[in-house]
């Protein structure tokens, strides 16, 4: 039972302690609940740092394993198996960081049913962390599906006017993808002599592919089943229809987590499962994925530009941004994949920041229509500067984090052997222009120009200390990754190399 005290177990399940404590706090004592949740999240963040401190950056393999034969009956081998490597450690840290930030951001935004909100949020953190750590497909699936439940409630209870519709849509879309993955997981486990353990699968699969026990067609079908599930989550064009609804209706903290972490679960799934488990299919599919990614980049950017709702614009921008991530992943070279992983983190930071900021102003104005805004810079200068940083980070301005990711992705995709054509990257590069178009539109309509309705009708206050503190970590990382990304790349590099060396390219 020592697995219970290992760092990764603690990172994953520590929030449950908070849930437990909050469950016994009177629902009326809102501040006590908030503090408990925040302290729990911060403690989890610290634990994740502690785990990170033990992480060996030079080791390409899974580390800090917490392993326990969970279900062992006859021909069943299911492990409680958490481990981390260079592909996931950053995402774990991102998750714990954004969770703490989101809880802080919900301090004054959520006034109703605070107790339930915090409980759901901490549960969500458990699920998300678990997704990034699980190394047994069964366990992964459990975490994967579990994240839906708290998020469903967060959208459905604290969301906007169409929250129930959006929550259900979010739930069903994601679920629709994952059920096929469930079947694929089972099939894979059954074929590979009843194991769901990813390292074991990786050891056994080559032989199964070679012997024809899993035919190329079957491999492709498995790839598609996994891919569908992850692609909906990402979301890749054209499976993105749930995203604007979910984002627009979700409360700020929900949007932050949704964009910051939940979407990454999709791209992470590709990285962790699709690529290594189905190498041949991956290579076959790479140009097609690149095509979809490219369409997504351009389409998402174009659609963003035509939105009248600020949050919707940012929501659609995720389609575009994650298109970049997908493009990088399926470049299947060190540049592209490293860039894609870094870009996952970047998108979490910058889009997270955008949603946070929009939420902060929404708390005061209660409108998200561009037509109501204008000239905010004068009224809220600190807010404007924060937004400026977030917008340009999202746009990929060199020196900020977004650029490092986007550049390496595009560079990788441009010369990718798997994609085998520079055209995808070439067209995707146009996304850089379109990103400037819609993001500057956002900035302009909110902060520049003559004073909008919100200024004349409300007495707007600039960000308070809590809000600034909420933003600071994001801003720090935005600059850090932009200016000195080497440590981050160093974390990724061995694992990425290992991942790619296994591909028959």
């Amino acid at each position: 039972m020592e697995f219970l005290l290992q760092p990764l177990t603690l990172v994953t399940f520590f929030p449950l302690l908070g849930v437990f404590v909050i469950a016994f706090i009177n629902a009326e004592k809102k501040d006590a609940i908030r503090w408990t949740a925040l302290i729990t999240a911060l403690a989890t963040l610290l634990i994740s740092f502690w785990a990170f401190a033990q992480f060996d950056k030079t080791n390409p393999n899974l580390q800090l394993e917490a392993k326990y034969a969970w279900i062992r009956v006859a021909d069943w081998n299911i492990y409680y198996y958490l481990a981390v490597d260079g592909l996931s450690i950053l995402l774990v840290l991102l998750t714990t960081l954004l969770s703490a930030i989101s809880i802080l951001s919900a301090w004054s935004a959520v006034q109703e049913r605070v107790k339930e909100f915090m409980i759901f949020f901490l549960l969500l953190e458990v699920g998300m962390t678990g997704v990034f750590l699980a190394q047994d497909l069964f366990l992964f699936y459990i975490f994967w599906e579990f994240t839906l439940v708290p998020m469903y409630f967060i959208i459905g209870i604290w969301g906007g006017p169409r929250r129930i519709y959006s929550a259900l849509k979010f739930f069903l879309y994601t679920m629709a993808g994952s059920i096929l993955m469930l079947l694929a997981i089972i099939y894979l486990g059954v074929q590979a002599q009843n194991t769901f353990n990813v390292p074991e699968l990786l050891a056994r699969l080559p032989q199964l592919y070679a012997s024809g026990q899993i035919s190329p067609t079957a491999q492709m079908l498995l790839f598609v089943a996994f891919a569908l599930s992850f692609a909906i989550k990402v979301p890749m064009w054209p499976l993105h229809s749930w995203l604007p609804d979910a984002h627009v209706e979700a409360p700020t903290a929900g949007s932050v987590i949704l964009a910051g972490v939940l979407l990454k679960m999709g791209t992470y799934g590709f990285l962790r499962f699709n690529i290594p488990l189905f190498p041949n299919a991956t290579i076959q599919a790479a140009p097609w994925m690149a095509l979809l990614a490219t369409i997504g980049i351009l389409y998402g950017a174009a659609v963003s530009y035509a939105q009248a709702d600020i949050k919707k614009l940012v929501a659609y921008s995720s389609v575009s941004h994650l298109g970049f991530v997908m493009l990088g992943l399926f470049a299947l070279n060190a540049e592209g994949v490293s860039g894609a992983i870094l870009q996952m983190v970047n998108h979490g930071l910058s889009t997270g920041a955008l949603f946070l900021l929009i939420g902060m102003v929404y708390e005061q104005t209660h409108t998200r229509q561009f037509s109501d805004y204008g000239g905010l810079w004068k009224a809220m200068p600190i807010f404007a500067v924060m937004m400026l940083i977030a917008v340009f980070s999202s746009m990929g301005l060199p020196g900020l984090n977004g650029f490092v990711g986007e550049f390496t992705i595009l560079l990788g995709a441009f010369g990718s052997k798997a994609i085998a054509s520079p055209w995808y990257a070439g067209f995707s590069t146009l996304g850089v222009i379109l990103a400037a178009v819609y993001l500057l539109y956002l900035f302009q309509k909110m902060f520049l120009g003559p004073d909008g309705k919100v200024i004349t009708e409300h007495k707007l206050k600039d960000l308070n200390w809590r809000e600034i503190v909420t933003m600071i970590p994001l801003v720090v990382f935005i600059f850090w990754i932009g200016l000195y990304p080497k440590p981050f790349f160093d974390i990724l590099a061995p694992a990425v190399e290992k991942l790619l060396s296994a591909l028959p390219l």
Binding site: P244, S304, A306, E335, P398, T408, I433, V437, L440, L448
Partner: protein, 705 residues
Amino acid sequence: MHLSETMNSGFYYLAPLLVFAPLVGLLINGFFGKYLSEKVVGAIASLASGTTFLVAVLLAHSTALNHGQVVQVPFAAWIHAGGLQLDWTFRVDTLSTTMMLVVSGVGTLIHIYAIGYMHEDVRFKHDEARFSRFFVFLNLFILSMMILVSGDSYLMLFVGWEGVGLCSFLLIGFWYELDLLSLPSWSNSNAAKKAFITSRIGDVGFLIAMFLTFWHFGSLQFDAAFQAAPSVAQVSPGAITAITLFMLLGVAGKSAQIPLYVWLPDAMAGPTPVSALIHAATMVTAGIYLIARSAPVYSLVPQAQYIVALVGAATALFAATIAVGQYDIKKVLAYSTISQLGFMVAAVGSGAFVAGMFHLITHAFFKALLFLSAGSVILGIERGHHTHAHHAEPKGKKKKEEHAEVFDPGDMRNMGGLRKTMPTTFWVYVVGTLALAGIVPFSGFWSKDEILLETSLHYPLIYWLLTAAAFFTAFYMGRQIWLVFFGEPRSDAAKHSQESPPVMTIPLIVLAALSLLGGALNLPFSGFHNLTHWLSSTISGVESLPFNWGVAGMSTLLAVLALVVSWFLYGRNPLKEKQIDPLKKPLGWAFTGMENKWFVDELYRAVVIGPYERLAAFLADAVDWKFWHDFVHDTLIVGGFNGLTKTLLDRNVDQRGIDAFFNSWGAFAEWLSANLRKAQNGFIRTYALATLLGVVLILGYLILK
């Protein structure tokens, strides 16, 4: 490596200060600016910029001592991903130090000037809190520009490249709530956006050029890439052509060449020091620097070079014609800048890298001078307007709805006769004009002459285009001088205009001196080719041509002729209030075209922007929302599903429904249901029927299989 030894023997270790000095300045002003007085803020910012200049001087000194040797000063690791291994490394060589000196030198002067300018500007525009913000942005600009010129790789250059784009955006939109250019609302912020996005279009070219560079040369570091270039040129010359042409797109975006120059005139919405610093002297010349930096690559593909030169020359002429038809003092200068940038691009395209750089330097001097003087003029007019309006209307110049017509202090038609009220400004303006027009011995003459000379040797077409552009240049500058400083004041504001304070005029005088003497950098006489010699250690294979009387004589002649023509048109009979431009009549539709910038903006709006907006709206409303969201999801999936379940349910409840269901099962079921209907069946029996049906089906399968 020799590096450490060389570093010890110079001030190279100071290189990071290029970036950190302005960084410190902007951080202090950014965080504490609102608690500091304007003087302190300005001093800090100028000091930061001045420190940069000092560092640049020391670096240049060290480089000179080391005979122009290239020195890389590593600072920190940066992107290490796969084969992409790039670090923050400063590159100190003759080319980069030249740029550093120009940027930080002119930049510092403009900082000082801006202390005076912005002091009044923020008061005229009623937001004094913005004073410190201006200097934060200005320092940020110096910082980005330093990264641009000192980077040791294309990517680091690109960081600065986009960084200056950001500053440009912020500074053009500095008075974001006003409409300084024209009446439509949001015009300042639109101009800022336009500048950034247009440059970004170019940046895509630059990015793709970098991708190609990386995959063909194996590195984005300058030395490594240039080393690989010749062998790659043998294997795949197409790749190199592609690299150079994509890079040209980037240059077109940043240095405002055809077809991406359209943002620069609009950028005049920014405060005048910005126009001087960013949109004339430094940032826009980044493209020329890029080509000069990439000289080893460009030299490999003459066809591409020719295209570059052609673009430059065409831009030079095209923009010069537009400048003739402009009324805004800054817009004239803006088009002039585009035109002059065209000269430089044509020069570097023709392989005359030194000539291009030379013109870049002299242009930085005289164009900065002109812009700052123009700013001085505008402020002078504003002062006049202010004192005048102060008595007439006590409050609210900004409130547009109260004014039928907004007073535009930049419109030359509102000026006239300023030489009396603003003598210093007048004189430095004249110096700038003569330098720009290319009159001996002003600096512009020498640099322009070198360009013309080089092109005349290689590309006659380019030469003629440039010569024509030079004629127009002198003409529109003459027109400007006559319109602004001569004749009678055409408005009350001009009548009451006042000279600017010394904090503004002193930098002007310094710049005027530089404009006058800048030519000494590279006099075309043997023993004087200082710049050529200096740059030759960085750009290999540059030749120093002897002075050519024919070319020089031709250009001087044309310039003088143009000035004379302009005098005939504008000086002899000064323009009256509300009088139509005298060129309008003789030139007719051509002048209309010039006035309206040859309708290029309208063309872009019709061909690119409008369609994109419509496409985006179509994708968003029709495709994404109505089709994907409403139709596919809500109607097809949800609706279909609901319909299905309702039907199933109805059949369970509704008797006719269940009969209909059975009907489809063939004759037997039909008979069955008919009999059941006859028997007026009730629900229990329906249920039993279902059971029986199941039995029949199962048995039927087992028996008939």
